[in-house]
């Protein structure tokens, strides 16, 4: 994984609450057995009509959305299925961060393991961002803060270990493998009971 220090971009706004992982990547696309290529089907049923043509009123199909790497969404983003294909689709499309007032647990875990930063903000910040689509903002992992265009900074919570992994491009499997001696000891202890 690429280390992430800051993400600076204009925002794309999907103001809806409870955007579930079936919307992010519908089940029929989960028959792939690799991690790649999900971006073209990100939000497929909102993005394309039955013939496969882009729906012009959907935000990702508008010219302003091009090149944006930060998605702002309503509360409880990523609810539903545990499919990691959801963050794979978002990152493959080009998103690096999602800003919301609440994230579903499994989605947040999956996002963090794929270099997609879940940025949890308070209600007023979320409302401002939703009312100002296309705002240029900066997400800084060093200070765990989000800078609004006028320079106002809002800090966001990020679990220290997850932050360390994101900033250093480290994946968690290496850390877990380094605990092998502890795992061996635990298994011996359990076997003795």
């Amino acid at each position: 994984m690429e280390p992430i220090k800051t993400i600076r971009s204009r925002t794309v706004v999907l103001p809806l609450e409870n955007i579930d992982t079936d919307q992010i990547i519908p089940a029929r696309f989960l028959r792939s057995t690799t991690r790649e290529g999900f971006g073209r089907n990100l939000f497929a049923d909102w993005r394309y009509d039955a013939s496969g043509a882009p729906k012009p009123d959907f935000v990702l199909n508008q010219p302003e959305a091009r090149g944006c790497t930060i998605l702002v969404a309503g509360r409880n983003f990523g609810c539903g299925s545990s499919r990691e294909h959801a963050p794979w689709a978002l990152t493959d499309y080009g998103f690096r961060a999602v800003v919301s007032t609440e994230f579903a647990d499994i989605f947040r875990n999956n996002a963090l393991k794929n270099g997609l930063v879940p940025v949890l903000v308070d209600e007023p910040t979320s409302r401002w961002l939703i009312e100002h689509p296309g705002a240029e903002i900066t997400i800084d992992l060093e200070t765990t803060s989000l800078a609004l265009p006028e320079g106002q900074r809002v800090s966001f919570p990020l679990e220290p270990f997850a932050r360390y992994c994101l900033m250093n491009g480290v994946d968690e499997l290496g850390f877990l493998l380094s605990k092998s001696a502890d795992i061996d000891a635990y298994e011996r202890r359990r076997a003795a009971v």
Partner: protein
């Protein structure tokens, strides 16, 4: 006297801490049972291959296939080709991965195959006090046995393969206290829909739910599984029910439960699991089961639910609410009862066990489904299928005009091609009414097997109590 009373969750968590959490690092949590299936495992096997790792505990890993598998008998057993090539490939890849890494696979034609959350309990590998994970959010089902069971992503599937552990922050606890008893015609499905309606779809985020109280104690294991299954629909990490004699009676004699002295010792251990008197939960909510009616959803998440005699609520200014009603083609203030139904699905990890099929058959016996309605009955496992056929339930379904299929996830998410056509209304015993969940443009109303069967008979949304003598 115990100086520090603990919840069941806290006990199970403490017993599985390989390394406790610190402010800087999450806990290393040991996993007792890792269930895998064809959709979320291939990318994890690929990581093992890339890094030259093996599956650390093949004896704690069990594979089956359920999501992409066909439900037509000729495709499962008759050698007819699987129509969707990508599904066939996914199935072959799981076979290849399991063979290469030495993982036991209950494959397409295996007598014990089924939906992963149905077969774990059936085989008796799901047990009280275990940590159970699977790359599937409905892993919460196994919590019905007093296990700590939760869904994980594919990267985490790889972590468990390689280390039998996960890095986890300790969730908070939420007690859902359910007093009273369910009234006739009101089922566990209605109860969990009622709980989700009260909590909301994010009400359980960051929490492990323990379902407690008289109404929960009175439920059989199939019903407790239905409850725990949908914990994730309230956003919860997991749902649990304390083990008791009902649990032990279910597990005793299952193929892989402990036997003889080991059984006695296990039960002795399991009896220590329930939450101690005086233990504190981070949050609690209360519900009276006796006030519930059959429940049905009207929108595009499981929290958008009303009693079957109710009307679609008025808009609350939320754009998602308006979008949801537009998708469903419903108007605020109108009743759901008597809305026309095109498709009825009895199945999924929520409601595909023998008691669910009995429940549907109770309504369908001696009746026909309405003309123009397509009804699919998909048992949760091959074992459920055989048991249902031994009782003649399949004949009741066939005589009524429904289709009787081989086991799998089927129309819950349509990955295998069992789809609800665009714009059609489906009364489904599954767990998600998200936009497009059962097929692009499909409109899903979640309900119990009783309500689904009654709606099939009338061809309209029907309160099952009208058809129950």
């Amino acid at each position: 006297m115990n100086p520090q009373p603990k919840t069941m969750f806290e006990k199970v968590w403490a017993q599985h801490e390989v390394v406790p959490e610190t402010p800087d690092t999450p806990a290393v949590l040991y996993i007792d049972l890792h269930l895998i299936h064809e959709v979320t495992s291939p990318q994890a096997f690929a990581v093992l291959r890339e890094r030259g790792l093996r599956v650390r505990r093949t004896d704690l890993t069990l594979a089956t296939m359920d999501h992409s598998t066909p439900t037509r008998t000729e495709q499962v057993f008759g050698g007819a080709p699987i129509t969707i090539e990508s599904a066939a490939k996914q199935i072959r890849e799981l076979e290849r991965n399991c063979a290469e890494f030495g993982v036991e696979l209950l494959g397409l034609q295996h007598a014990s195959r089924g939906i992963v959350h149905v077969i774990g309990p059936e085989l008796g590998v799901t047990q009280p006090g275990k940590t159970v994970v699977c790359g599937d959010s409905h892993t919460s089902t196994h919590g019905a046995f007093g296990a700590l069971a939760f869904g994980i992503g594919s990267t985490e599937v790889g972590h468990v393969f390689a280390t039998q552990c996960l890095l986890q922050r300790k969730p908070r606890t939420l007690a859902v206290n359910v007093s009273g008893r369910l009234r006739p015609g009101v089922t566990a499905k209605d109860l969990i829909l009622g709980i989700i309606g009260k909590l909301g779809v994010a009400g359980g985020t960051g929490h492990v739910i323990e379902y407690r109280g008289e109404a929960i104690r009175a439920l059989d294991m199939d019903e407790r599984m239905t409850i725990c299954n949908m914990s994730i629909e309230a956003g919860a990490r997991a749902g649990m029910v304390a083990p008791d004699d009902t649990t032990y009676a279910y597990l005793k004699g299952t193929p892989r439960a402990p036997k003889g002295e080991a059984w006695e010792a296990a039960v002795e251990r399991w009896r220590q699991l329930p939450t101690d008197d005086g233990a504190r939960f981070d949050r609690e909510i209360d519900l009276d089961a006796s006030t519930l009616e059959p429940m049905i959803t009207y929108g595009t998440n499981p929290g958008m639910v009303i009693p079957i005699s109710g009307s679609v609520p008025a808009p609350n200014g939320d754009p998602a609410f308006a979008k949801s009603l537009a998708y469903m083609g419903f108007d605020a203030g109108t009743p759901l009862r008597d809305k026309p139904v095109n498709v009825v699905f009895i199945g999924s990890c929520t409601n595909s066990r023998l008691s669910d099929l009995r429940s549907a058959a109770r309504v369908l016996r001696g009746r026909k489904i309405a003309s123009g309605v397509k009804m699919l009955v998909v048992p949760g496992s091959q074992q459920v299928k055989r048991a249902a056929e031994a009782e003649g339930l399949h004949q009741i379904f066939l005589d009524a005009g429904a289709e009787w299929r081989e086991s799998g996830c089927s129309m819950c998410l349509g990955m295998n091609g069992d789809l609800v056509p665009p714009g059609q209304y489906s009364v489904s015993t599954s767990n998600r009414n998200f936009e497009g969940r059962q097929g692009t443009g499909a409109r899903t109303l979640l309900a119990s097997p009783l309500t689904a069967a009654a709606s099939a008979v009338r061809g309209r949304v029907t309160d099952p109590r009208e058809l129950l003598a």
